[in-house]
């Protein structure tokens, strides 16, 4: 291998990067199982980790293919939301690339992680609200979120703002917690492993 740094696409679409994709899809799927009966979805954990460990484009592909996979196997509603999952993987990876995700556990680092969580919640809300509104009349499929949505509707809000507000309330919890978990897991990955990836 030459001394120059390999290009972004070379890293993300190395054979190793490609081989990681189906495994991270699996992590996305099992983490959403683990999150059953908690208020979070956690179905983007694998996309976030792929974004952090390998890179934004890889995170995007993991997010996209996770929902395609869910769609063909067990969740008929997952396909349109591929955009949301892909956007989360992309932005998580981009934030990591800009140096917001370090392996140290300091107070400022925790602050950065929470900030990225908020950014991801905004991204997820902006991408999923139009889908919720056009496909399912604004409902999200998670009972407690739909209850908030119904509450806003009863308060005289229009469908779009009501759906967006309910979605944001749920996403801000989901994305901050999920990204925090992703970062904690990342800090536990031995440095040797990460070097192997970034080579």
């Amino acid at each position: 291998m030459s001394e120059t740094k390999p290009s972004r696409m070379k890293i993300e679409f190395s054979t190793f990067g490609i081989a990681m994709i189906p495994l991270m899809i699996g992590i996305n799927i099992v983490s959403s199982y683990l999150a059953a009966s908690t208020p979070v979805w956690a179905d983007t954990l694998g996309s976030m980790l792929a974004g952090i460990i390998i890179g934004p484009i890889n995170g995007l592909v993991v997010g996209l293919l996770t929902n395609v996979f869910k769609w063909v196997t067990f969740d008929p509603f997952a396909l349109p939301y591929a955009i949301v999952n892909a956007a989360v993987g992309l932005i998580a990876g981009a934030c990591a690339l800009m140096g917001a995700v370090k392996r140290e556990t300091s107070a400022s680092q925790v602050g950065k992680i929470l900030a990225v969580g908020v950014v991801l919640a905004v991204v997820a809300t902006l991408t999923s609200t139009p889908l919720n509104v056009t496909l399912y009349g604004g409902s999200t499929g998670k009972p407690w979120v739909d209850a908030i949505f119904a509450g806003f509707m009863a308060g005289g809000w229009q469908v779009f703002p009501a759906s967006m507000a309910a979605e944001f309330i749920s996403d801000i919890a989901d994305k901050i917690i999920t990204f925090f978990i992703a970062w904690l897991i990342y800090t536990k990955v031995p440095a040797q492993f990460v070097k192997t990836v970034k080579r």
Binding site: F13, S14, T15, F16, I18, A19, M20, I21, P22, L23, M24, I25, G26, I27, I29, V30, S31, Y33, L34, A35, A36, S37, T38, P39, V40, A42, L45, L49, I53, V61, L65, V68, F69, V72, T73, F74, D75, P76, F77, Y136, G137, G138, S139, G141, D146, M153, V159, I177, I181, L184, I185, K188, V189, P190, F193, T196, V197
Partner: protein, 267 residues
Amino acid sequence: MSVRLLYVPKTSVVHRLDPRTKAFVWVASAIPAIASQSILVSLAMFLLTLAVATVGKVSRQYLRNILTVVVPVFVPIFLIQGLFNPAGKTPVLYLLPWLYFRREGIVFAAVLMARLLAIFGGAYLLTLTTKPGDLMASMQKLGLPLRVAYPLFSALQIVPTIEARLQLVKEAQMSRGLRLQKVGIVQKLRNFIPLLTPLLLGAIEEAYRRSIALEARGFSSKIKKTFLHELKFSVSDLTFIVSTILSVLALTTFATLITPSPNPWSL
């Protein structure tokens, strides 16, 4: 809760068909279902895929998948569309003075359900009777780059193994004293770390091994690749495609004809 291993190994006419033929059956039956507003057309397309699944000896698994995957989502569709669809005007059934089922919403829900049946029926027909490897090879023949085809189709095999590995990690951590049952939400979220960290490390290791195995088979080589099992269109594929086109046309026409006019299911 777990992802079903989809492929059912059996010997039948449908199993022997080229995956592209089955993909064609799926697309050909999904198009009228999506394009038409008539429930009858969608149901006819669903019955067509069911008939092909019966010929392929997978009707039991087909119906089980439809019942366990597609039918459960009917409940929220019906409730949400019936109660809250903005097009809804005519009250049908009052639950509360301000909460009632509306005719237009129920109609929309019914059209959506029939469509889902047709679309998922075709998808299950394809995945139940086709080996994931053959599916991947056929998609490559249709021009999907290997770098996209590999992650998608290998996920069909890898995800069940990851689920099995999660079970192992759970048992291992429980033997070290991790509490998994009857815990609150906070502990549940904390459990992510001890459960998923080993899974991720294993995944990185496995990806490393797999990348070596892939490279040993010339994954990133630019040379045109050959296949272990060469897929070929046979006479039975051609017969199947022609009869699919004919039956889709016949069923669509018939279902459209017997749909009362004005169509009570149009929006």
